[in-house]
Every structure is written in C-alpha cells, then in structure tokens.
C-alpha cells in the first residue's frame, strides 16, 4: 500500500510538471482527489525519502531519484494501456482505470516482455502521451531484441536519466542516448547525424503539437512529434 501511494504521487507529479515549474499542492490534491492536508503530509514524506524537492506553500519538483521512479511507473502504466487497448481491445475510455490498478503489480521483466510484444510502442492509447524509455543500457531497440535470448539480467541497467526531446524545453541541450522504434527511422536519424552521444539542442517546438526543430552537427532539422517522442537524451537535471 505504501509503495502504491508513493508511486501514484510520483506519477501524478511527473504528469503535472510542465516546463520545469513547481507543481502545487492544490494541483496534486485535485488530481488525486485527496484533501490538501494529506497531500502536504505525503509530500513531506516524499521529500524525506529524497524523491522530491519540496518548498512549502510553493510546491514540489522531482529529484533524479523521483524522476526515475516516476518514469518507471508511468512507463508501466502506459505500456499496459497500449496492451489493454491494442491486444485485448478494451475501450480506450476504460484502459486508464484498469492500468492504474495493474501498474503496481507489473514486474520489470514483464514490462520488458510487454514492450517487445507490442513492438516498442511510443505513445499511450488514450491521450497520446510519450511512453518513457526503458532502463536497459541500449541505444536502440534492435540491440534489446538481439540480446534478450541471452537473458537481459546480465546487461545491467542504464545509469543515465533519459527524457525524450519532445519534453525538452526550447533552447535546452541534451546528449542523444537512445532512439526507439523501427529500423528504417533509426537509420535515417543516424544518417542525419543523430548518433549516440551527439549533442542536440531543441531550437523550438511548433504550436499545436507540431514538429520539434533541433540543431545537430551544425544543421537544423525538423522532427515530427511522432519521431521526437522516440529520441531520448541524457539530462543531468529533471527539466
């Protein structure tokens, strides 16, 4: 129960955090339908456990530890949504509630298998939000497919903090670390200079979920949202 509550809070803060602004207690209490007083109490606890930085009367922001935990549970949630909608054909309006129950029980191994089964989906079924990257140390999905017979326990875990460039603010830099998805698009991106370790800058994002303009290796590229949500960069600080 304790773990479930923690995960729900972290997930909520992760979803509410926009442009690196603090998330207020009120927002969280509205979203979780919990009294503000209980939220404040929980936030203090999370802050003690180093999941968030909490500033009384202002709000909170995830720490690296919190971000990774939040991404993990959000990833499980959104993968489950896809599974419920695409494979089990459950109505898109129902998948969110269902996934909320299942996400806490899903093991990491099951999560990885689910990702392979669904062919590395990038967005969730109901609202099109980006599914966070996995924490395996690969730079593309093919390496994962190739190695999974040998057992993925041995390959270890990624010790970098990844976010997709779709979530990167205008003018922010990141180092390319992981590109998700099909071979053809991956190769096209590599050819355009988006090789692992390359520094990439988000120049601007077009309005209405439009493309992301990035500067890489002295050239400027426009990447559609559906491409941008698959390009993950390493960040030192959660935005």
């Amino acid at each position: 129960m304790e773990q479930k509550t923690t995960q729900d809070y972290l997930k909520t803060i992760y979803n509410l955090a926009k442009n690196g602004d603090l998330v207020s207690t009120t927002e969280i209490s509205q979203k979780l339908e919990v009294a503000p007083a209980s939220v404040t109490e929980m936030l203090k606890k999370l802050s003690d456990d180093d999941y968030i930085k909490y500033e009384p009367y202002k709000g909170c922001i995830l720490t690296i530890k919190g971000l990774r935990e939040a991404q993990k549970v959000t990833r499980k949630h959104r993968l489950l949504e896809r599974f419920l909608a695409d494979t089990l054909h459950i109505g898109k309006d129902k998948v969110h509630k269902e996934a909320c129950q299942m996400e806490h029980a899903l093991s990491d191994e099951a999560e990885e298998s689910l990702c392979r089964l669904l062919k590395h989906p990038d967005t969730c079924a109901d609202d099109g939000k980006t599914i966070p990257a996995c924490d395996l140390p690969f730079s593309n999905c093919e390496e994962c497919i190739k190695l999974h017979n040998q057992g993925l326990e041995e390959v270890g875990r990624r010790n970098k903090n990844l976010i997709s460039i779709r979530e990167l603010k205008d003018g922010k830099f990141g180092k390319i670390s992981f590109i998700r998805g099909e071979h053809k698009i991956l190769r096209r991106l590599l050819d355009m200079g988006l090789t692992p370790g390359t520094k990439i800058k988000v120049v601007k994002v077009a309005p209405m979920d439009g493309p992301v303009e990035v500067a890489v290796r002295g050239s400027k590229l426009a990447l559609g949202q559906d491409i941008a949500c698959n390009v993950f960069v390493e960040v030192e600080q959660p935005s």
């Binding site: 390496e143 692992p196 439009g210 303009e213 400027k220 426009a222 491409i227």
Partner: protein, 660 residues
C-alpha cells in the same frame, strides 16, 4: 554520347571509354545547390528550388570543355547510401556500377560536418572525387571560414570553393574534375577507429579471397555487409555463403566489442571522422546571428508563423490578380485596333469571317487573359520556391497535415501544385511511402494550378469581383482538407513522421528567378498559344454549323439542370480536360467576346469557375498520375474529382440562387 547510351543497354561502361568523352556525376546532400551547379555547367534550365528533395529523377546535360565532350548527371540529393529510398539506391548503383569518370561531391560549406558524412561514404566507394564546397559566401557571412588546404590534405582529394549562384569557381571546378577523370588518382584510405577498422579489414580479406564477381570495391562490400545492407547481403549470399557466414561472425564480434549494434557503430565512426576533419578545417566557428535567422523567427513563430504561411498564399494570389489585371488592361488598350470583322462581311463570307474572328479572338484572349496573369504568378512562385520559406510553411503546418494522414513536407508539392500539377505530382517523391505520395497527389489534383487561377480570375475576378475569386480559393482549401481526410480513411496504412532538413533562407538570385519564370511561361507561349489560335477558329466554325449542339444537349441535364449553367458549358468543360485555360478561352471563342458577363450571370460564372477548378484534372495531370501510380489510381482520382466537382458545384448553384 554514344558511349553513354550504349552503357545502359549492356551494363558495362568501363570498356567503352575514350579519353575525349567524359561523364561526371553531381552527388551530395539534398538542397546543397547541385541543380544550380548543374545549370551553370550545362547551361540548361533545370528548375531550382530551395527545399530538400527537389531533383527527383536524375537530369542529364552535355557540354564541351577544353576539347572534351562532357556529360553531366545531376543525381538526387541524399544523405547516405543505405537503401531505404529509391533515390539512394539509384545514386549508389550509378556511382558504383556505371563508374562515372569523376564524381563532383557538392557540399554546403555551412554544414560541413553533416555533408562530410556523405563524402566519407563516397570515398569508401573509391569514387574519383572532387569536393565542391558551395555557398562559401553564405558560410562566411555566418562566421564559418574553411581552410581549403587542410581539408584537401585530410581528405586527399581536390577541393574547390564555389559560389554557384554567381558562377564563381565553376571553371576551376571543371578543370579539377577533368584532371581527376584523366589521372584517376588513388583515393586515400581514411581510417576509422582501430577496433572498427580491424573488423572491416578482416572481412575485406575474406571477400578478396572469395573473389566475388561483383563490381563493388572489397572494403566497401565489407562495410556494407557489417551494416547489414539488405541489397548487398542478397547479392553476396547468391555468390558465396562463406562470406556471409564470416560477415555474421565478424559483426557479432564487433557489436560486442563496441557495445553497440554494428550499423550504429559504423554510422558513429563516420560521424566521428567527419567531425574531426571538419573541426580541423574550420578556422572560425563562432556562428553569427544573421538576417536569415530573424526571418526564421518570424516564419516559424507560434502565432506569426501561421500568418506568414497564410500571407504567402494570399499574397501570391492578390499580387497575381492586381498586377495581372493592370497588365491586362494595358495590353487590351494597346490591342484595341484589332476589331471583329464587321457584320456586313460576315453575312457574305461566313468562312472568312469565322477564321479571322477566331484567329484574332484567340490571339487577343491569349494576350489579354493568359500572359498578364501567368507571368507575375510564376515570378512570385519562383521567388517563394527559391527563398527557403517553403520548409518553414511545412514546419508550421505539420500538425494540420497530420489530420490528412500526411506530414508537413507534403505541403511543398501541394503549394507547387498552385503552379502546375504535373511537376508537383512528380515532387511527391519527397514523401516516404507510396501511400503518402498517393494522398499528396490526390490533394494536389484539387490545388488550383495557374491555369485554373486564370479561369478563376478571368471569369470571377474580372466580372464578379475579386472577393468572390478569393472566396473560391478558400472553398478550395476547405475542399482539399475535407477530401484529404476522406482519402486518408479510405487508403489503408500508417503515416510516417516528419524528418526534414530546414533549409536556410537565401536571397533568391534575380537571374535564377527570371530564368525559371521564362522557362515556365515559354511552354505556354509556344504550345498553348498556337493550339489555341487554330482551335479557336475551328471552334467558331463548329459552333456556327451547329456541330457542337448535340454535345451540349447531351450534357445539358448536368450542366443546365444540375449546375444551372448555359448549355455551352458542356463543350467548355470537355475542352478544359485538355488544358484548364480552355474553359475560359473556349468561352471567349464561342461567344466571340472577352466580355463574358454578357453571356453568363454572376452566379453562373462562380459555379463555372468552381466546377472548372475541381473537376477531372487535365490530360497531362491524368497522364502523370497514371505513370506514377498506375491507371487504376489515376482513374479513381479522376472520378473522385468529377464527383466532388458536380456535388459541390450543384450545391453552390442552389445556395447562391437562394441568397443572391
């Protein structure tokens, strides 16, 4: 030339080379200025545009230089030699198998690193290479200065600085290319990281021992096998299983030692090398903010971006109308001495009067209705195309285009469709999948090309009001969007995402713009004009002897009852399938006057123009649709156009008669 044309039929070029005739290929990334250089070298009029992917088929031209006959091939712009697109495969096979005497690698000096990634692949193929560093002036203005000697030394190939738009460096470039072609210097072997290089070398030796009868260089084959290139793996496995097995083993070794998939490791290596070469050749890399970047801000701004996009299209139309109208009036008053034959003569000599009337009328209408509108339209279109603003429009409109199952890049051919549908449909090749090409082509057939714009302005703009003409344009955009959505639902498949290089803004060169305008106007003057002058006389005769009445009558349920048009509209619409201008010109010929308001009511003019805009595309467009997508698709699209035109035209007629 004979050498070259033989080469295609028997597949071998190397045997039939004489030192007097040389073949050069222009290769490089998209939008680096290959076509500008091609035009400069060959003096031809390839249409140029500042957007990536414009050259879709390879273009060919010939010239003579210092006693050598030279054939130049302009290859489509590509970023790599993987085989994910037709263009990449075609370019690769051309360079590897047909072995041109020299390959001129055109490079955008401002984006050296990314361009060198491609240069390295050309070197891997051991192509006889000259590096043409284009737009050095633009690079310099942005604070990028390149050390030619250092670059030359690092790459081991001649480097020439060029400003293609002004023709600077072209002569030197040709000289170097001839040198390379005649002396065939050995290409320098640029080494990758030791562990990568070791694996390549190991596989290369296996390939050399197997003695495959392939025309590709062994080291290049080794790299391609390690990358898992589908075409090459197929070709090699047909010849030697042992090489493939060895390739699989080596790639496994390499990916575990690099901790990265092989293809990714090789791409990373190429970029690492390109990056270090670029860094050592760059003297100054402090990039200045330029005027172009301020324009960039304006055109891709969250709010203003939409207005710029809208402004470009509206501006194109308004400019065409007002300049065209002014020119038209000027020409009309200048031509006022040409008058219809007086009625007394026409009674006694009907044939003569018909011919004279037809020819004069045809000449008159062409000169007052077509030329004045077409020239300003093409002029501005060439400016827009060359400025680089099209990629901005594609960027801003990407999310809207997704609603039609397309991405932003599709807007580039659609906007070109406002000029002429035929090259626009060819330009659909910049889209990644057949489904997207088809959807974009379908949208283009509704884009009012210059011919339809003439009908719109000549009928509605002049006699009903410019606001009505513009309203019809808005209706047309809405129709494109609505039918695009329907088409997306009907054609199965998934859409791909946008990956597009943002071309930088450039001041379009006046010479290029004027040349392009003339190239496009020329076809109208040389082809449409003569046909029309003869045709208009013929039409008057046919009309005079009532030959056309049965056709008009047969179509009258549609034209008269459903669309509320005069009976003659049936003939006009049939004429319009040849070229859309003939809807307007035919009306002038049949009624014997350019003042159409005497024979059409305002509502009829609006409906006529609307139907002309939407119904079956002209024969050239149907032909190109058939060629690109097959006759089934061409027929389906044509029928969809007719259905849409009739439906919308009939509704418009009923709505307009209700309110007007």
């Amino acid at each position: 030339m004979s050498c070259h044309s033989n080469s295609n039929s028997n597949g071998k070029v190397s045997n039939c080379k004489d030192s007097n005739h040389l073949t050069f290929a222009l290769a490089g990334n998209a939008n680096v200025g290959k076509s500008v250089i091609f035009n400069q070298i060959t003096g031809s009029n390839q249409i140029i545009g500042n957007w990536p992917g414009k050259t879709v088929d390879r273009a060919e031209g010939t010239l003579s230089f210092e006693g050598h006959g030279i054939t130049v091939i302009d290859l489509p712009g590509i970023y790599s030699f993987s085989t994910f697109s037709m263009e990449e495969l075609v370019s690769r096979d051309y360079i590897a198998l047909e072995k041109p005497d020299a390959v001129i690698n055109v490079v955008d000096a401002s984006v050296l690193e990314r361009n060198l990634f491609f240069t390295l692949q050309l070197l891997e193929m051991q192509a006889p290479l000259v590096l043409c560093l284009n737009q050095v002036d633009v690079a310099k203005s942005r604070g990028i200065i390149i050390d030619k000697e250092k670059l030359q030394k690092k790459l081991g190939i001649p480097v020439v600085f060029v400003v293609a738009t002004r023709g600077e460096g072209i002569y030197e470039l040709m000289g170097e290319a001839v040198n390379v072609a005649l002396s065939k210097p050995k290409t320098k072997h640029l080494k990758y990281r030791p562990d990568v290089e070791e694996n390549i070398e190991k596989l290369k030796q296996v390939i050399e021992k197997a003695n495959l009868s392939l025309q590709y260089p062994p080291r290049w084959l080794a790299i391609k096998l390690l990358e898992g290139d589908v075409e090459i793996v197929k070709a090699v496995s047909a010849l030697s299983r042992a090489v493939i097995d060895s390739a699989i083993a080596t790639s496994k070794e390499m990916s575990s030692s690099c901790q990265e998939a092989c293809f990714s490791a090789i791409a990373s290596e190429r970029y690492a090398l390109a990056s270090s070469i670029a860094a050592s050749a760059l003297q100054q890399t402090e990039v200045k903010s330029t005027f172009s970047e301020k324009l960039d801000w304006l055109t891709t701004h969250r709010v203003l971006g939409y207005f710029t996009s809208l402004g470009i299209i509206a501006g194109l139309l308004l400019w065409t109308f007002f300049i065209g109208n002014g020119l038209s009036n000027l020409i009309s008053s200048g031509l006022s001495f040409i008058k219809p034959i007086d009625p007394a003569l026409s009674a006694s000599q009907p044939i003569l009067s018909i011919i004279l009337n037809g020819v004069c009328g045809g000449f008159n209408a062409g000169l007052t209705l077509i030329i004045p509108f077409v020239i300003p339209f093409y002029l501005l279109l060439a400016l827009v195309e060359n400025s680089g603003v099209l990629t901005r429009v594609a960027f801003v409109m990407d999310s809207a285009m997704h609603k039609m199952g397309l991405h932003g890049k599709a807007l580039i051919p659609i906007i070109l469709g406002y000029g002429c549908n035929v090259p626009a449909i060819q330009a659909c090749k910049i889209m990644e999948t057949r489904r997207e090409r088809l959807l974009a082509a379908f949208a283009i057939t509704f884009a009012p090309c210059s011919a339809r714009t003439i009908v719109l302005f000549g009928m509605v703009g002049l006699f009903v009001g410019i606001q009505w003409a513009l309203l019809l344009y808005v209706v047309d955009v809405a129709v494109i969007f609505a039918l695009g959505r329907v088409a997306m639902k009907v054609v199965p498949g998934k859409s791909t995402g946008l990956i597009m290089e943002m071309s930088s803004f450039k001041m379009p060169s006046l010479k290029v713009v004027l040349k392009q305008t003339w190239a496009r106007t020329k076809s109208i003057i040389y082809i449409v004009f003569p046909i029309y002058i003869v045709g208009s006389a013929l039409l008057q005769a046919l009309y005079f002897y009532n030959v056309l009445t049965p056709i008009s009558n047969a179509l009258s349920p549609l034209t008269v009852w459903w669309l509320g048009l005069p009976a003659a509209a049936g003939v006009l619409l049939i004429l319009g399938t040849v070229r859309k201008e003939f809807v307007l010109l035919g009306a002038v010929a049949i009624f014997g006057t350019t003042n159409l308001a005497l024979y059409f009511s305002p509502v009829q003019l609006v409906v006529m123009a609307l139907v002309a805009m939407l119904y079956i595309p002209c024969v050239s467009t149907v032909a190109i649709l058939g060629k690109e997508f097959g006759w089934k698709a061409a027929t389906t699209i044509s029928l969809a156009n007719i259905a849409a035109a009739l439906l919308i035209g009939g509704l418009a007629f009923r709505l307009l008669t209700l309110f007007v």
